[in-house]
């Protein structure tokens, strides 16, 4: 408990520094906010246009597809807000700055993952939450407490998978000193979860469900809400999330041993 409180305090210190840094350029913050809003609204516009031109997509109505899209955005935004640090890891490995992280009495993985929260995403996250709440409330028939609790439980499950992937990317960053395209590849793969997994052909569907389980990360919470997730799928999703989470920690320990501090 004491350690947890200590790390929360440390995170707030990081967050304060990052907030001051990111908003030192107000115009950049505004442009990022506009860009992220445009991205969200444009995709939503395309889905709305689809609604007028087609009835279903892979067995889902377009209203249901929008729930997948909103769920993807929730997990994506939360991951971006808290784990932005991974994006800048390459520079730290190449310059040897990571040595300073290793020498400090703070868990290195915590520092790498959560050391640079992204406040630009916070700006869009708040209106997004209100919109999602409103939309789900009116689009999902027979919304009950069980569905809502399970939805949030599997959002956490999805976030666990997301954390695991960020750790894997950090591992690749330490071993190869290259992160940029790896993290973007993860983002591209996770964006496949914007749509129901059923739109993808096999073996791609299997790949993004079990090998790189970005499909489970996003689609399970949405399917829970729509009452289309059998218990066996929920169990599989939980097992996969715990497995990749544990594997990511093992990989991190291994990667850290391979860090040579060559540039410092």
């Amino acid at each position: 408990m004491k350690t947890l409180i200590r790390y929360i305090k440390i995170w707030f210190l990081f967050a304060k520094q990052e907030l001051l840094f990111q908003f030192s350029s107000k115009s950049s913050a505004v442009l990022f906010f506009i860009g992220k809003t445009v991205r969200f609204l444009s995709f939503l516009l395309i889905l709305i246009l689809l609604k007028h031109n087609t009835k279903t997509m892979a067995g889902y109505s377009i209203d249901e597809v929008i729930i997948f899209f909103l769920t993807f955005n929730f997990i994506d935004l939360v991951s971006q807000m808290f784990m932005r640090g991974v994006y800048s890891l390459t520079g730290k490995v190449r310059s040897g700055e990571l040595d300073f992280y290793l020498a400090k009495p703070v868990n290195v993985l915590f520092r790498v993952l959560a050391g640079s929260p992204d406040f630009n995403d916070v700006l869009i996250f708040i209106p997004f939450l209100f919109f999602s709440g409103w939309y789900i409330g009116q689009a999902v028939p027979l919304l009950d407490a069980v569905k809502i609790v399970l939805y949030f439980a599997f959002l956490v499950n999805g976030l666990l998978i997301s954390i695991a992937f960020h750790i894997f990317v950090a591992c690749i960053g330490i071993v190869t000193t290259e992160v940029d395209n790896t993290i973007m590849l993860y983002r591209d793969l996770s964006q496949m979860g914007r749509m129901p997994m059923e739109i993808y052909r096999e073996p791609l569907r299997f790949l993004i469900t079990f090998v790189v389980p970005v499909g489970l990360m996003v689609s399970i919470p949405a399917r829970v809400l729509l009452g289309k997730a059998p218990p066996s799928l929920l169990l599989t999703a939980s097992l996969v999330a715990v497995t990749v989470f544990l594997l990511s920690f093992l990989s991190w320990k291994h990667a850290l041993k391979m860090y040579t501090s060559a540039s410092s």
Binding site: I46, L49, T177, N181, L185, D188, Q191, M195
Partner: protein, 273 residues
Amino acid sequence: MENKLLLNSLKKYWIVAKVSWINGFTYLTSFVMFRVRQIIQVVVAFSLWEAIFASTITAFGYTSAQMFTYIFAASIIGYVVTSSRTIDVAGVIHSGDLSLYLVKPLNFFLFWFSRDVADKLQNVIFSAIELAVLFFIFHPTLYIPTHISTIFLTLFTVGGAMVMFFLINTMFGLLGFWTPDVWAPRFLFYTIMFFTAGSFFPLDIFPNSIVQALSYTPFPYVIFFPTKVLLEQLSSVEVVRGILFTGMWVGLCGLGVFTMWKKGVHSYEAEGR
């Protein structure tokens, strides 16, 4: 004598392009990841439309074959037009490394354009292999232009789009003279371009008013317009109008680059060196 000078000049930029080509493979993991990303983006677009056409014969006035053909052609044109190394220009200016370029017997813009050409060539070669694989998976209907003039028109519009895209990106790079925060405006530009260039869907799926409004911006001329020219889906008047607009945007962006460069170099203080 003049021929020799021209040859030497071409040789310089050929070497720049060659070095840039080699640089592209320096970080092999990143290179492979980038290629995989390109495949994923096309697969997502194909899968999305495949799912849509599973329950309808036509959507937005397109049949499934027409849509797949469009996405296939747009992917090829997108690979050629949108690959660029000018993303590094701002860093070069802001770090003070520009000083090294200013004292070299090189034209700064031709230097970056040569790098762009190498990047585009790399993209075209690797994407040809990737698209061939995707072709065998999704079987899009390949449209062979019926007029030889279409090939020339397509090359012309793709050339225009390449120059326009290079100039726009260079302008974002030149912002580095005044601010280190060039990523934010570039992010906004790329976000808008993602939805309005026509890489993943033809822009005419939007309501007519939006298509009309977009036609006054440079975005449709990056991918949508050259792709429609290649697929011979535009009238002569629309082709001429598109070429004129591309030309206008090339002119405006060229003027923008020229003005920014002139003012920027004047105020440049080689900070950071």
